[in-house]
Every structure is written in structure tokens, then in C-alpha cells.
């Protein structure tokens, strides 16, 4: 046996250990045939090196695996950060980036970009009536349609909710307008969801960029143009013009003021009598909203309610109207005997009805003020009433159960569905005399008016004819079988105190007619009756 101290295998072992230590885990040493203790150490080191190598390989594999996973996670995070999860379109930040790139290209000689801003009309109705998943399905379909109308170089983004934008780099006005119109047409086709057709449309604003404009300005201007499109009756394209800017600024200013109007007690209600035609006796009054604006003077609802609807302020305004009207009703009822048939009419928008807890809020308010529900009637715009909207049907049924009267406002105007008369839980209809006036000659008008009144009567609904201005009109309506009427002939909208005087005397008479009229006449207030109402008469 070799003396261990002089055994050359020991030096080789040292070399092996050095090799292993330097990272070469594949290094091995063959034991000698002696199979002595030194060979046992060699074998042991070989086996340990095997172990070390295996652990190392395993760790390496794990690190590679984790690195791939990390890269994938990073990629998907990036996608999430830049894409809209629902539609797969660019999100606001990616869109801003693309506008920025297009602006930079314009600085290098290309045409400035155009920006299209698209906002779906009445999307909330789809969400409320068909549910949010149906709403999401509509948004996905809209995204697909938009993909079909843009050019390869354009970027479509979803800015949030039902708002989309398209960036068109290096684009002249004509081409941008073509894309916008294609989008408008594509979005006018109803979307089919679960076998049902949901009507869609969009209001579109287009900003043709100018050299030197930044992305934020382009988006803001497209947004302003989009709002103009909404104001123009929706489902149309408007190209931004500098004059729109002033209007938008005023709009923002007004919005800020409106949000403070309730606290500043600038909102008020006026009341217009509703009378029995046969004897002119007052049977109720319609509450009409006014804004006593410090700078603009008395503002009619048409001038600010669309703004309130869009901004969500309508919720506060609507509740204020309910509470104020119920408080007034309480004061009046204290002065009227039970046998006096008097109902206070309040306008509500479809949006308010859809808002959860509306019926409960009304019930609580009535109880708090000890006003019987039968003394209140809600006027709901005919255009808002769809027999296939479960939310509306449900809340109408709740209100009915409460004992509140429900009337279809402006019946016959704007394609009111006949089925609504039959199927909705309502008590009455309000028909505008002006609508009857538009029908041919006197005999034709008479036939039309009678048909309307018969129709309402056939389904057991009381009818109120609005817009009666003269004694002749009153006589004519009466001869056609109308029972109740409203209009300047009986009285303009008056403050609370005046109306109670009228109610006490039983007939509006000259008191009502002499009452204050709002500036600018009457039917100027022909905007939507959203929680406000339009004073009744077609001229003043």
C-alpha cells in the first residue's frame, strides 16, 4: 500500500476539488482498483459532485422556468396596463401615447392627427334594462364594429364606460370625416344580445388637429365636439370649431354653479293649475322647476337639466324636487278639506325611476310629511316608457302600490307606444293640444282628438289636455269630450303661495292668469321634462 502522504491520488483529489470549486461540476476522478480508503474518498466526492450537479441543474431549470413566467407576467401586466380588459382596445394611456406619436410625426412633416371621440347614446338604458353583462356584450360588439371602420394606421381606444376614441395619424379632414361617418353608420345598426335587439347609436365629435397642438388638447376638443353632437339630437358627427370652446366653458361653469344651486337655495318650484274643464275647478297643479341664477336670471329646465343628467347631478336635483313638492303639498293640504280633489303633479325622468330606491325615497318623504300618496301624481315622459324594461315596470308597480298616481306625459308625441297605454301600471295621460293642432282641418282635428281621448278612456285612463290658451280652445276640447285641462288660459305657473290662494277659491280665474310668467315666454321651455316639467302652453 502506498504511503498516504506520498500517494499521487491525493494531489489528483485536490485538483478535482479545485475543479469542482471553480464551477465545473462535471469533473470526476476514477478510483483505483485498490478500492482503499483514498478510493472511497474519491468515490464519495464523485457521488457528492453528482448530487451537487443535480441540485444545480434543478435550480437552473427552475430559474429558467421562473424567468419565462416572469416575462409572461410582465407582458400580460403591460397588456393590462395599456389595453382595455373588456374590449381589447387601447386604454386611455396607450391612446394618449399614440396621439403623442402622431403629434411628433406631424412635427417631422406629416399631417397633424385627427381625433374622433365617440359616446354611445342611451347606453345606460341598455345596462339598466338588459343588465350589465348585456351592456358589456354591447361594448364588445361596438369595439368590433369600430375595428371594421378604421384604417390600419389608426388606433381605437376605450376611454371608459361607453366612451371610445380613435386616433388618426397623418390625416386630412376629408379622410377623417369618412372614418367618422363610417363609425356613425356602423353604430346605428341594432346589436343583437341573447335573441333581443338593442338599439344603439352614438354621438361623435371630430377634431382635425393643427400643427403644434398637443394630444390633451385634441382629445378635449373632440370631447367638446361630441357634446355638441349630443346637443344636436345625438347620432350625428360634429367637427370641432373654436366657437364650441366657449360653449363648453360656459357649460362647465354652469355645471359648477348647478352643483351649488341647491345649497344656495337658487332652485325653486312654480305650480301650474290643472282644472276640470266643465267648471274650471282646480283639481291639481304641476310642479315646474326653475333656477334663479344670479347672473343669468330665471332659467328654465331645458337650459340645465341635460347637463344635470349627464353629470349625475340630476339625482340631487330630482330628490330636491320631490322633497320640496311634498313639503308644499303638506302645507296646502292643511288648508284644504279632504273632499277637495287636489293632486300635486311632479315630473320624473326615466333616469330617476331607474335609480334604485326611488319608490322608497318617495314613500319615506310622504310619510315624513304626512302627505297621503293619493295626493301625489308622477308625470313620466312617454318616450321613457318601454313595456319591455323590467326596471321601469317594477318601479311603476311599486309606486302604484304606494298609491301615487302615474301619468304618461306628452302622450302621442315622439312615437309613444300604444302598448304602453294598455300594459303599464298608469292612471292617466297628458296630451298636448299642439299635437292635435297639427292635424289637418277642424273636422280632422276633432276626429283625431276624439280618437286619442277614446283610446285613453277605453283603457280606463284619465286624460289631461295641455296647452289650452283661449276660451275657444277650452270649449273645443270640452266639446270633444276632454274632462281636464291645463294651460295659460287657466293659469301660468305661480309660486307656492299664489297657488294655495287659487286652490282655496276653487278656480284659477284671473289670479292664475295674472301670475308671473317666466322670462322668455312659455313653451321656450320645451326641453325634456326631466324632474322639472315644462310650463304648459304653447305660446305666451
Amino acid at each position: 500500500m502506498t504511503d498516504p502522504v506520498e500517494d499521487p491520488r491525493l494531489n489528483q483529489l485536490v485538483d478535482l476539488i479545485v475543479e469542482l470549486a471553480s464551477g465545473d461540476l462535471a469533473a470526476r476522478m476514477t478510483p483505483s482498483p485498490a478500492r482503499d480508503t483514498i478510493d472511497a474518498v474519491i468515490t464519495g466526492i464523485n457521488l457528492l459532485a453528482d448530487e451537487l450537479n443535480a441540485v444545480y441543474q434543478h435550480l437552473e431549470a427552475r430559474v429558467r422556468e421562473r424567468t419565462v413566467e416572469l416575462a409572461q407576467a410582465q407582458e400580460s401586466l403591460q397588456r393590462l396596463a395599456l389595453c382595455d380588459a373588456l374590449t381589447g382596445l387601447a386604454n386611455r394611456s396607450l391612446l394618449a401615447d399614440r396621439i403623442g406619436q402622431a403629434v411628433a410625426r406631424a412635427e417631422r412633416g406629416a399631417l397633424p392627427p385627427a381625433v374622433i371621440l365617440i359616446d354611445l347614446d342611451e347606453f345606460k338604458v341598455i345596462n339598466d334594462s338588459l343588465g350589465h353583462s348585456a351592456g358589456d356584450a354591447v361594448l364588445v360588439e361596438i369595439a368590433d364594429r369600430l375595428r371594421g371602420v378604421v384604417r390600419e394606421t389608426d388606433t381605437i381606444g376605450r376611454l371608459g364606460g361607453d366612451e371610445f376614441a380613435i386616433v388618426l395619424p397623418d390625416t386630412a379632414e376629408g379622410e377623417a370625416m369618412r372614418v367618422a361617418r363610417r363609425a356613425l353608420l356602423a353604430l346605428q345598426v341594432p346589436v343583437s344580445i341573447g335573441g333581443r335587439e338593442a338599439a344603439v347609436s352614438a354621438s361623435i365629435g371630430l377634431r382635425i388637429g393643427l400643427r403644434g397642438q398637443d394630444g390633451e388638447t385634441l382629445l378635449r376638443d373632440a370631447d367638446i365636439a361630441m357634446y355638441r353632437a349630443k346637443a344636436q339630437g345625438k347620432s350625428n358627427v360634429q367637427v370641432f370649431e373654436p366657437s364650441m370652446h366657449h360653449a363648453a366653458q360656459r357649460r362647465m361653469e354652469l355645471l359648477g354653479e348647478l352643483s351649488e344651486a341647491i345649497d344656495r337655495e337658487e332652485l325653486c318650484l312654480l305650480y301650474q293649475p290643472i282644472v276640470r274643464l266643465i267648471d274650471g275647478r282646480i283639481v291639481g297643479a304641476e310642479a315646474l322647476l326653475r333656477w334663479e341664477h344670479t347672473r343669468e336670471g330665471t332659467m328654465l329646465p331645458g337650459a340645465f337639466l341635460t347637463l344635470a343628467e349627464e353629470s349625475g347631478l340630476i339625482s340631487d336635483v330630482g330628490r330636491w324636487i320631490i322633497v320640496s313638492a311634498v313639503r308644499t303639498a303638506r302645507d296646502w293640504l292643511a288648508e284644504l278639506t279632504d273632499d277637495v280633489p287636489f293632486r300635486l303633479h311632479v315630473n320624473v325622468s326615466a333616469g330617476e325611476l331607474r335609480r334604485s330606491g326611488f319608490a322608497e325615497f318617495l314613500r319615506t318623504t310622504l310619510v315624513e310629511h304626512a302627505v297621503p300618496a293619493s295626493r301625489m301624481a308622477l308625470e313620466v315622459p312617454a318616450t321613457a316608457l318601454r313595456t319591455d324594461e323590467p326596471v321601469i315596470l317594477h318601479v311603476l308597480a311599486e309606486l302604484r302600490e304606494l298609491g301615487v298616481g302615474i301619468e304618461i306625459d306628452d302622450f302621442g308625441a315622439g312615437g309613444s307606444p300604444l302598448a304602453a297605454l294598455r300594459d303599464l301600471p298608469v292612471d292617466g295621460v297628458k296630451i298636448d293640444r299642439a299635437m292635435i293642432d297639427r292635424v289637418g282641418d277642424a273636422p280632422a282635428r276633432q276626429r283625431f282628438a276624439r280618437a286619442m281621448l277614446d283610446l285613453a278612456g277605453a283603457v280606463g285612463l284619465a286624460a289631461v289636455i295641455q296647452g289650452i290658451e283661449t276660451a275657444e280652445q277650452r270649449a273645443e276640447m270640452q266639446s270633444w269630450g276632454a274632462v281636464m285641462g291645463q294651460g295659460y288660459f287657466f293659469g301660468r305657473p305661480v309660486p307656492e303661495a299664489r297657488l294655495i290662494e287659487i286652490a282655496r277659491t276653487g278656480t284659477p280665474g284671473p289670479i292664475g292668469r295674472a301670475a308671473t310668467a317666466p322670462p322668455g315666454g312659455s313653451a321656450a321651455d320645451s326641453g325634456e321634462k326631466i324632474g322639472c316639467g315644462r310650463e304648459d302652453s304653447s305660446s305666451a
Partner: protein
């Protein structure tokens, strides 16, 4: 009967001894005798064939086993995993002579969760005695 195969035996073959270039397996006095050929590197395939021989020769019941691993050159990591699989051996005595055998054997023993009692011996007599004591409980 004695077979020299470099292949796995078929399930229905009856043998008392099986062998290839790497290993010889026999049942003697109701003890499975497995002897690795001198200088062999026990790889995973070699270990699997050996295990199959053992299971084939002792297919009727589990028996004690002596594994003579004197003079084996090495045993790979993958081969050691084969020893984790339960087979026909009820207990195993690893038999070696040199310090090298002892190191190799203890690397085998170092595999956790061996399927049956397993120990290293340098004396065949001691090995058989231990097997017998384990077998009789």
C-alpha cells in the same frame, strides 16, 4: 434453468436464476441473491433490469435479499431512485468489502424512504443472520 439476457424477462417466464453482463440474480435457500458484476457502473436501466429479475424470480412472495456490490465501480443518481420502488425483497442486506463499497452502499442507503429495511454489511454471515432475524421478526 439459467438465462443470460440483456433484456427484461417476460411476465410468464419461470426462472430460478437470471443474469446479464451487469448482474446475476438467483434464489438460494429462500434468499434472493443479487450480484453485481465486477467494475460495473450501476445505471438506471441496469438497476431496472435487476429489479425486474428480482421481481420475476420471487414473484410468488417477498423474500430477504443479499445484494453483493463488492467491486462495483459506481452507482448513478438515477439508479438510486430505482431502489425507492417497492419490489419482491422484504429486507435487503448490502454486502461489500472495501471502503469504496461502504461509501457507495451508504449513498444508496442515503436515499430516504427505502421501501424495506436495508443495511450494509462486510460479512456475508452477518448479513444472512440479520436478514433471518428481520424475516422472523
Amino acid at each position: 434453468m439459467r438465462y443470460r439476457w440483456n433484456r427484461m424477462p417476460d411476465d410468464n417466464e419461470v426462472m430460478t436464476t437470471a443474469a446479464n453482463d451487469d448482474v446475476t440474480v438467483a434464489v438460494v435457500d429462500d434468499v434472493i441473491r443479487l450480484r453485481w458484476t465486477e467494475g460495473v457502473i450501476i445505471s438506471e436501466p441496469a438497476a431496472r433490469i435487476a429489479a425486474a429479475y428480482v421481481n420475476q424470480l420471487s414473484s410468488d412472495r417477498r423474500r430477504p435479499m443479499v445484494v453483493d456490490m463488492s467491486l462495483t465501480a459506481a452507482v448513478t443518481r438515477q439508479a438510486r431512485t430505482v431502489f425507492l420502488e417497492p419490489g419482491a425483497a422484504s429486507c435487503i442486506a448490502l454486502l461489500g468489502r472495501s471502503p469504496v463499497d461502504r461509501v457507495i452502499a451508504n449513498f444508496v442507503l442515503g436515499v430516504s424512504n427505502l421501501p424495506c429495511p436495508t443495511r450494509f454489511f462486510t460479512s456475508e454471515t452477518a448479513a444472512l443472520e440479520w436478514l433471518s432475524s428481520v424475516a422472523t421478526g
